[in-house]
């Protein structure tokens, strides 16, 4: 069981406002990259195929195709190194985990577009 005291310690590391996106969205993840003593922002674009965990452990997986190779990156939702997540296109999905996309190749990886209000936020 997690005590209130533990939660109060964790809460300092949690974001006040988490960026809004849904499973199946194509997102731009802006992440901070440290190169030597320079920091820069790298954008990773792909489809959100799952979200798991609670609180400090919450993370989401973004999948994209690079050439013919699938690349998946897992980002912690509350990491200060994830600067922003911008939803650029919503996908129509029926499930919470889109692991079936891993078996698909070529045009099959595309999801039907869903038109909703949340895509144009911020």
């Amino acid at each position: 069981m997690k005590t209130k005291i533990l939660e109060s310690v964790e809460n300092k590391s949690l974001r006040e406002k988490t960026p809004y996106f849904e499973i199946g969205d194509t997102v731009d993840v802006h992440c901070k990259i440290q190169e030597g003593d320079k920091t820069r922002t790298q954008i990773f674009t792909g489809t959100v195929i799952g979200r798991k965990g609670r609180g400090m452990n919450e993370s989401f997986t973004v999948r994209r195709m690079v050439g013919n190779e699938g690349v998946e990156r897992v980002f912690p939702v509350n990491s200060p190194n994830v600067l922003d997540v911008r939803s650029i296109r919503s996908g129509k999905t029926r499930r919470a985990k889109l692991f079936f996309l891993r078996k698909r190749v070529g045009k099959g990886v595309r999801l039907a577009q869903r038109h909703s209000s949340h895509t144009v936020t911020k």
Binding site: K2, T3, L6, S8, V9, M56, N57, P76, N81
Partner: protein
């Protein structure tokens, strides 16, 4: 130098300033009362006796109550000594309160507590022995410790086992000190010390926290 008594709350993860995730243990430390000051004249050595966590009023024993009264405190559940060197002057007076502020300048801490009991453990778990292979003809002794001595390998003990031979037995439930934990943050409001890494004992157990004696505080 600083010392506090506290209660292990549990472990979690937080992000530090550089955005890295750190595994931390949260300790509710203090406020402690100085219950007694021991001096070379009266006790043969100098120390501060700290007390932490009040005993429920209905469970206070008379001797404990009397002892606490001298420091104008209520009886405490957890009492430990902060041993001072011969030349050290105690920084606190009898009845003073010691809280997490005492650690504000400190970067590394050592923590002592009673480790979790592991029961009767074999040599692999208890002493880190290698055991035997899973296959290649090994039979019925995959986790055995191997030979403990020959028929007359007396080593000066006349055919007996050498004393201190590492074997299976009770493991855990003993006092363990873990050293050089980085002090990640202090919460003066809730009396919390957040330190990096794991400390002995289950959550809810009492621990002693010292400023690190072997690692410089810079």
């Amino acid at each position: 130098m600083a010392m506090l008594l506290g209660k292990k709350i549990g472990m979690t993860q937080i992000y530090d300033e550089s955005g890295k995730m750190v595994t931390v243990t949260v300790i509710q430390a203090g406020p402690c009362k100085v219950m007694q000051i021991k001096t070379p004249e009266t006790d043969g050595y100098s120390a501060l006796q700290l007390g932490f966590d009040d005993v429920k009023a209905s469970r206070i024993k008379k001797p404990a109550e009397g002892h606490a009264k001298k420091a104008q405190a209520s009886a405490k559940k957890f009492i430990r000594e902060w041993r001072l060197g011969a030349k050290d002057e105690p920084q606190y007076a009898l009845g003073d309160e010691v809280n997490v502020e005492a650690f504000s300048e400190i970067k590394f801490v050592d923590v002592s507590g009673i480790s979790k009991g592991k029961g009767y453990a074999g040599v692999m778990k208890r002493h880190g022995f290698g055991g035997f292979p899973g296959s290649h003809g090994t039979e019925r002794k995959h986790r055995a410790g191997g030979s403990i001595g020959s028929h007359a390998s007396d080593r000066g003990h006349g055919g007996n086992l050498k004393k201190g031979k590492r074997m299976g037995g009770r493991m855990g439930g003993t006092r363990v000190t873990t050293k050089h934990h980085r002090l990640v943050s202090i919460d003066a409001e809730q009396n919390l010390l957040v330190i990096k890494g794991a400390i002995p004992g289950p959550s809810g157990s009492y621990v002693e926290i010292f400023s690190s004696r072997t690692r410089p505080q810079s």
